[in-house]
């Protein structure tokens, strides 16, 4: 199975990921992003500039729960891809492993990452975080 091994920086767990449109399953063009691994997020999400780059349209309204109460937000259907290890870490020049389409969200911008990998994707993976900072994500 493909896997990704890396070390976190002690502040957040981020990995390279690919975001793909979902309206044509044969279209494997993608946008490479830095993604936060967030086990507390029910759904994955992308930042506004990724929505614009891929020209995604909203296709849903979703009720979300946050620290400030509940709110309605737009839902977007897209695909997430992960890059398996090469000899020198994640190989973002190789084709990613692409998961089935998900109904994700558009999050407000962050300076640290452009996507959030939530439990809709993580539940399809084996995820290991060790106390020495090493991480492993196995998928496929």
């Amino acid at each position: 199975m493909p896997e990704l091994n890396w070390r976190h920086n002690g502040r957040r767990i981020v990995i390279p990921a690919a975001i793909l449109r979902a309206d044509n399953p044969a279209d494997l063009s993608y946008e490479t992003v830095t993604a936060l691994v967030d086990t507390g997020a029910t759904s994955s999400g992308i930042m506004p500039h990724v929505v614009e780059t891929l020209a995604l349209l909203p296709h849903s309204k979703r009720l979300v729960k946050g620290a400030h109460g509940e709110a309605m937000v737009d839902g977007f259907v897209f695909r997430v891809g992960l890059f398996a290890d090469s000899d020198c870490g994640a190989s973002t020049t190789a084709l990613p492993y692409v998961f089935d389409a998900i109904m994700g969200l558009r999050f407000s911008p962050s300076e640290h990452f452009a996507a959030i990998i939530g439990m809709d994707i993580l539940s399809q993976c084996d995820f290991l975080v060790a106390r020495n900072g090493s991480c492993r994500l196995t998928f496929g």
């Binding site: 997020a41 349209l57 979300v64 946050g66 259907v77 389409a101 969200l105 999050f107």
Partner: protein, 79 residues
């Protein structure tokens, strides 16, 4: 002229009125909607999107997950 936004809003309102009935048989599935009507249920959102694009080239459709639970935003809950 109907916009995608108004189509999504109208479909959502209609979907919410039918949600309890849909939950019994389709919880966790995805409903493809057009003009306030549920067209079909799909097991994943990608299949619903592909069907919507194929059958409704004007793009006037929406997709709703059959669920009565709000999503949790995780780290972004505090943004």
């Amino acid at each position: 002229m109907t916009t995608l936004r108004s189509e999504i809003d109208a479909n959502f309102d209609s979907f919410q009125r039918q949600l309890q009935a849909s939950l019994a048989r389709h919880r966790g599935e995805y409903a493809l909607l057009r003009h306030g009507e549920i067209v079909k249920f799909f097991v994943d959102p990608g299949a619903a999107l592909t069907a919507g694009v194929k059958h409704f080239p004007d793009g006037m459709f929406s997709i709703q997950e059959v669920s009565d639970e709000p999503l949790d935003l995780g780290v972004w809950s505090h943004a």
